[in-house]
C-alpha cells in the first residue's frame, strides 16, 4: 500500500515540479513572485479543452495550448509587468499585479467556460500494468515521463545553451548582465514563454489525470506549487524538482495514512518545519540582494 501511494505521489509530484520550475525561473530572472502562474496553469488546461472541443485530439490540443499559453505569459508581462519595471516601481506592486492578473484570467475562464467543473477527456486510452502488487496506470507514466523529460530539457537549456547562459547571468547579476550587452527583453520574454508553456502542459496533464477542468483549479493547485518551490529553494531548478515531488508524495501519503481531511494541510506543516530549519529552502542559497 505504501509503494502504491508512493507511485501515485511521484506521478502527481512530478507535475507539481514542472509547474514549480516555471514559477522558479521567472523568480530567478526578475525577483518577481508571479502569483499569476497558477492561473496560467488553469488557463492552459482550458485552452487545451477548447481545442479538444474542436476535435483535434487531446495531444495536439495540449501542444497548441502550450504555444498559445506561452504567448499569454509574454502578453501578461508586456501589458502589466514590464511597465512597472520601466517605472522602477516597488517590488510589491509587481506581486499585487500578478494576483490581480490571476483573478482576471480566472474570470475570463468563468465567462467562457462557466464556473463549474467540466469534463476533460482522457489524454491516452486507460491502461497500465501491475508490478509487485502495485498498479501503475499509463496516465501516471505519461505524467511522470512528460514532466521529467521537460524538466531535463529545461535543465539542459539553462546550463548548456547561449540563452541559458544569458538567463543565468541575469539571475546572478542583472545589472552586470545588461551592461555586458545581454538583450534583457528577449531573455524576459523567453522566460515568460517557457513558464507559460510548461504550466500549460502541466494543466493538460493534471486535467487529463482527474478528467476535469475548472476555472478555479489554479486556486487549488497554486498554493501547493508555490510551497513546493519555496520548500526546494526558490530560483533553484533542482529545488523545484525535489520540492514538487516532496509535496506530491506528502499529500498522497497524508490522505492515505491520516485521512483525506489532512490531504492539503500536511504538506504545509512540512513546509513550515523545513523553513524554520532552513529558511532558504532545501536547495536555495541565501540571497544577498544588493540595491
Amino acid at each position: 500500500m505504501f509503494i502504491q501511494q508512493l507511485v501515485n505521489g511521484l506521478a502527481l509530484g512530478m507535475v507539481y515540479a514542472l509547474i514549480a520550475v516555471g514559477f522558479s525561473l521567472v523568480f530567478g530572472i526578475l525577483r518577481l513572485v508571479n502569483f499569476s502562474h497558477a492561473a496560467i496553469f488553469a488557463f492552459g488546461a482550458h485552452v487545451a479543452l477548447f481545442f479538444i472541443g474542436l476535435e483535434v485530439g487531446p495531444i495536439p490540443a495540449i501542444l497548441i495550448s502550450m504555444v498559445l499559453t506561452g504567448g499569454v505569459g509574454i502578453l501578461i508581462d508586456k501589458v502589466a509587468l514590464a511597465p512597472l519595471r520601466k517605472k522602477k516601481s516597488i517590488p510589491i506592486a509587481g506581486l499585487i499585479t500578478t494576483i490581480g492578473v490571476s483573478y482576471i484570467l480566472q474570470n475570463i475562464l468563468t465567462i467562457v467556460f462557466g464556473s463549474g467543473r467540466v469534463h476533460f477527456p482522457a489524454i491516452i486510452p486507460p491502461g497500465g500494468f501491475d508490478f509487485l502488487g502495485t498498479r501503475i496506470t499509463s496516465m501516471q507514466i505519461l505524467m511522470f515521463g512528460v514532466s521529467l523529460t521537460l524538466m531535463l530539457l529545461l535543465t539542459y537549456l539553462v546550463n548548456h545553451t547561449k540563452m541559458g547562459l544569458a538567463m543565468r547571468a541575469m539571475q546572478q547579476n542583472p545589472k552586470a548582465a545588461r551592461l555586458m550587452g545581454i538583450n534583457v527583453n528577449s531573455v524576459i520574454m523567453f522566460t515568460f514563454f517557457l513558464a507559460g508553456a510548461t504550466a500549460s502542459i502541466a494543466g493538460g496533464l493534471i486535467s487529463g489525470f482527474y478528467q476535469m477542468a475548472y476555472p478555479a483549479m489554479g486556486v487549488s493547485f497554486g498554493p501547493k506549487v508555490f510551497s513546493a518551490t519555496v520548500l526546494g529553494g526558490i530560483g533553484s531548478m533542482p529545488g523545484a524538482f525535489v520540492g514538487g515531488i516532496l509535496i506530491g508524495v506528502i499529500e498522497v501519503m497524508a490522505a492515505m495514512f491520516l485521512g483525506s481531511a489532512y490531504r492539503d494541510g500536511a504538506a504545509f506543516v512540512v513546509l513550515i518545519l523545513v523553513l524554520i530549519l532552513r529558511p532558504q529552502g532545501l536547495f536555495g542559497r541565501k540571497l544577498a540582494l544588493k540595491v
Binding site: 547561449k162 540563452m163 547579476n173 552586470a176 555586458m180 550587452g181 538583450n183 523567453f190
Partner: protein
C-alpha cells in the same frame, strides 16, 4: 572631433546635482583618468556614459555618433564596456562562462541552433570559446578558466571583470577603480596590463584613487569635485595644481608643503 566627446553633461537626482555640466574628451588610444574625492560624481559619469542613467542635458558623442540616452545594450554594441567599483561578476558561473556572457551580443540569438547544436553553431561556439580563452590568457587567468568566479582571489576577480568587458568587443574600456584593494605587487601587474591594452589599441578611461597608478599610466587626467570639473591636464600638471590639492586635502598647496 575627439574619439569620445562629452559636452556639458548634467545629471541631478531630485534636488542634488550629481554631475553639473562636465565636459571632457578622449582621443583614440589614450589612457584617461578621472580622479576626485569620494562622492565627487566619478561613478555617476561612468553610469551616464554606459546608459545606466539618462542624462538631463548635454551630449556624449562616440566615433562621431551621439550615444547618450541610448539603451544600455546599444552602447555596449557601439563599443563601450565597463567594470564596476564593487565587483559584479556572475559568482556561480565558471570563469570562462563569465567571459562568454560578454560575447552574448555578438553570438546572435540562435536558440534553435544552440539546442540542436547545428555544425554552424558548433563552429561559432568553438571560435568564441577560443577567443575567450585567449583573452583570459592575456590577462593571466589562463589557469582558472574552469574555476567558479566566486572562488577567485580578489585581484583575479578584478581582472576577470576586465576580461569580460574586453569580450564584448569594446573599443573603449571604462575601468572603475581597477586597483582598489590590490596589493602593491598586483597594482604593478595591473599597470603593465593596462599599458599592454593600450598597445593593443584599446582606449581606456579609469576612475582610480591609487595616485601611483594614475600618475604613471595616464595620458591625461580630469579632476572632478562636487560634480564639476576642477582641473584637467597631464599628470605633471595635475600634481601641482592648487585646486586639486585643495579638493583633496582641504587646504592650499602652501599648507601642504609647509607641513
Amino acid at each position: 572631433m575627439a574619439y569620445l566627446s562629452v559636452k556639458e553633461v548634467s545629471k541631478s537626482f531630485g534636488g542634488l546635482t550629481a554631475v553639473g555640466g562636465v565636459s571632457f574628451e578622449v582621443e583614440k588610444g589614450q589612457v584617461v583618468s578621472i580622479i576626485g574625492p569620494n562622492g565627487a560624481g566619478k561613478t555617476t559619469i561612468f553610469n551616464l556614459l554606459t546608459g545606466v542613467y539618462e542624462i538631463d542635458s548635454g551630449t556624449v558623442t562616440f566615433d562621431g555618433k551621439p550615444i547618450h540616452n541610448k539603451p544600455v545594450q546599444d552602447i555596449v554594441g557601439a563599443g563601450i564596456a565597463r567594470t564596476f567599483q564593487n565587483i559584479r561578476l556572475f559568482p556561480k558561473m565558471r570563469v570562462l562562462e563569465n567571459v562568454l556572457v560578454g560575447m552574448d551580443r555578438k553570438m546572435g540569438y540562435g536558440l534553435l541552433s544552440s539546442v540542436f547544436r547545428t555544425p554552424k553553431f558548433k563552429k561559432a561556439e568553438q571560435e568564441f570559446t577560443q577567443r575567450a580563452i585567449e583573452i583570459l590568457g592575456s590577462i593571466g587567468l589562463g589557469d582558472e578558466i574552469h574555476n567558479y568566479a566566486e572562488n577567485l582571489p580578489y585581484g583575479a576577480k578584478r581582472k576577470l571583470e576586465i576580461a569580460r568587458a574586453m569580450a564584448t568587443g569594446a573599443k573603449i574600456l571604462l575601468l572603475d577603480e581597477p586597483a582598489a584593494g590590490m596589493n602593491p605587487q598586483e597594482s604593478v601587474e595591473l599597470m603593465d596590463f593596462i599599458s599592454s591594452l593600450k598597445n593593443q589599441g584599446y582606449t581606456l578611461i579609469l576612475i582610480e584613487h591609487d595616485m601611483s597608478v594614475v600618475m604613471k599610466i595616464s595620458d591625461k587626467i580630469y579632476v572632478i569635485d562636487h560634480g564639476v570639473k576642477i582641473a584637467e591636464g597631464k599628470p605633471a600638471e595635475i600634481a601641482n595644481n592648487e585646486a586639486v590639492i585643495r579638493a583633496y586635502l582641504g587646504g592650499s598647496a602652501k599648507d601642504v608643503k609647509s607641513q
